[in-house]
Symmetry: C2
Subunit: 377 residues, 2 copies
């Protein structure tokens, strides 16, 4: 085992999915992890799973404290950790950062709390971006953060050594680290996570009004667009509330645009001129949607249209997908992306296979030679 | 070759992606297909690809006419086809049906057009639901409709034999047929296709305002929710305009809900009581989104939560996915669904593998034995 990048001991406060997974990863790397949770049952389960050992009053002071609690309570716990351990670097992994930083800075300014700027310097926020639809320590995994973004969130008063320690935590977890300030982080997650959640939930909620038979026509488009609507309501009320300042302006702009589209649809019937206001609202929306979605980085940061997609019919039997990918491998072609589609009532699936643009003809030929039905472009 | 289900000859009017694909499938089944397109170049290309033969003035009258044109022009072409071939069943494959039916019924009522109720009886609408992000005859494939829903849309005056002929077309294409009336169809596609398009486009458009660095944090949630925002603007202006009557009320209800959420977010800071209006708007949205998305039928009509998802780390080398699926097949486990996720900047992917609930532990063990990193629940 190589020397851990993170100093020991590490105190993890809150041993749910995220705290438990951090404990598992650090313990596996040889770090001494002290676990603490408001729920004795959760704490015991985390210990049993191997996330660390139960924290005791006579423990050595931690070198690093990781607060893994929801955004509405993380700030208070960070402040108390800064007080309890005057030598420790303190981080938190809540998914909204300004509200936590504000709590720390308010404590420094307050006469009621014995903290100064040198204490705030020991606080550096973090956000390991491991989205899961499950929760709880039972779902914790040491590799939860592997290959995921890990945002390090220093504030202007953060000590560079503290920043380096929190960055080392991200590297130790196997994540891809990047730095953003709290406001930048919160705006970023509003755009890439919180607003998509609201949009997917709005779409999901609209299905409550759809006649039963309509839903039999659901295809991959609806499934993809609404997938994250299955997320946990309690968690999301906290997240959206904590990041309301960043989320609301984006939603308000979206609402105004939706208003314009509704107005446009109400008046465009029979008007084929794309320059008039009504059609322009609708055409502009779709065109801007095209441009916006092109801004999302593709795999490994490549441009999305570097890939070509072909569609293969896959009989619904064990091993058929295995055979498909084995034969793709034999043809020397690497899969860039894949989605599977099943049709209501039919025992065959469609595999949409993305490959580097330029290799799609080669792959199509190779698969057809081997007897596959290829329906792609 | 077995006897085709569809009578010959079939006239296909409009030989783009959909018309061309229908021509390819019917020609391959031994049907005599006459092709006709306003663009001589498109028509020639369809002939060259094997979708049928070029229509001539002295051709035998078609038994079935398939109008494959956008919803705004399909009605006029259907009316003229009913006039030109008094013995033919006429269908169209536009993605909005009320507007086409209205054109047919208006023609019957009009003194200017020599059509009667017996002619309208020969019209039965259809909608083969093969969504593709590409267009044009060059992308046409005979198996485009294989395993996809094919909606047959009779009107109250439709002749039962004409309905049977159009249903036979769907079966011949390899599709899964179901019947809906025009209003039912248009409401269904508003819910499962048109509103999701608007929602994805709104989300895509919102990304235009996002700082560049934010987008590096994009994960699978944003990618899935915004994927269909990449659709063709010209086509979608026609579709949304033609189905405005069904789409607008759903969007209006969504706008009202979004208003309530924006109001709620503006006032909920510091109010932890879930019963007050502000939090209730946000919590209610997410909860209703949960319930709505659960209404989408799963694979083969099964309930979505019949499946469990595990996550496997896949090195980014040719053949690794093949090895994964081969080894899943060896373990006797059938994949129900799959999505792949790549992280910006890191050469490893995550495969989210859905299997029948109950078999996830077996699969996890089988994969771990074979050396895979499994991060799933």
């Amino acid at each position: 085992m190589s020397t851990p990048l993170v100093p020991s001991p590490v105190r993890v406060i809150g041993t749910g999915l995220i705290g438990g997974s951090i404990g598992l990863a650090l313990s596996a790397a040889g770090v001494d992890v002290q676990l603490e949770d408001v729920s004795p049952g959760t704490e015991s389960l985390a210990v049993e799973m191997g996330a660390g050992r139960r924290a005791h009053d006579d423990d050595a002071d931690p070198a690093l404290v990781v607060v893994a609690a929801p955004p509405d309570v993380a700030g208070g716990i960070v402040v108390s950790a800064l007080e309890r351990w005057p030598g420790a670097v303190v981080t938190d992994v809540a998914s909204v950062k300004s509200i936590v930083l504000a709590a720390v800075l308010a404590a420094v300014d307050s006469d009621a709390v014995p903290l100064g700027a040198q204490d705030a310097a020991r606080y550096v926020g973090a956000h390991p971006m491991a989205g899961r639809e499950v929760s709880g320590v039972i779902a914790a995994r040491g590799d939860l953060f592997d290959a995921r973004p890990f945002v390090v969130v220093p504030h202007p008063g953060s000590d560079p050594d503290a920043v380096a320690t929190v960055r080392a935590l991200g590297i130790q977890l196997g994540s891809v680290c990047l730095d953003l300030d709290a406001a930048g982080h919160d705006l970023a997650v509003a755009h890439v996570s919180h607003v998509p959640q609201v949009v997917a939930s709005l779409l999901g909620a609209s299905l409550l009004e759809a006649p039963e038979r309509s839903l039999g026509l659901a295809g991959q488009g609806l499934r993809d667009t609404s997938r994250i609507a299955a997320s946990d309501p309690r968690l999301w009320v906290e997240i959206l509330g904590a990041n309301a300042a960043a989320v609301s302006p984006v939603l308000t702009q979206m609402r105004d645009r939706l208003d314009a589209v509704i107005d446009g649809l109400g008046t465009m019937t029979g008007d084929p001129d794309p320059r008039t206001g009504s059609r322009r609202a609708v055409a502009g929306l779709i065109a801007d949607g095209n441009r916006g979605v092109q801004r999302i980085p593709g795999k490994h940061g490549g441009a999305i249209d570097a890939f070509a997609t072909i569609t293969v019919l896959v009989p619904d039997r064990p091993g058929e997908l295995g055979r498909l990918f084995t034969e793709m491998g034999e043809a020397g072609i690497n899969l860039e992306d894949l989605s599977l589609e099943h049709t209501y009532g039919k025992k065959v699936g469609l595999a949409h296979v993305s490959v580097q643009r330029g290799s799609e003809a080669l792959l199509t030929d190779a698969l057809r030679e081997r007897g596959w039905s290829v329906a792609g472009a």
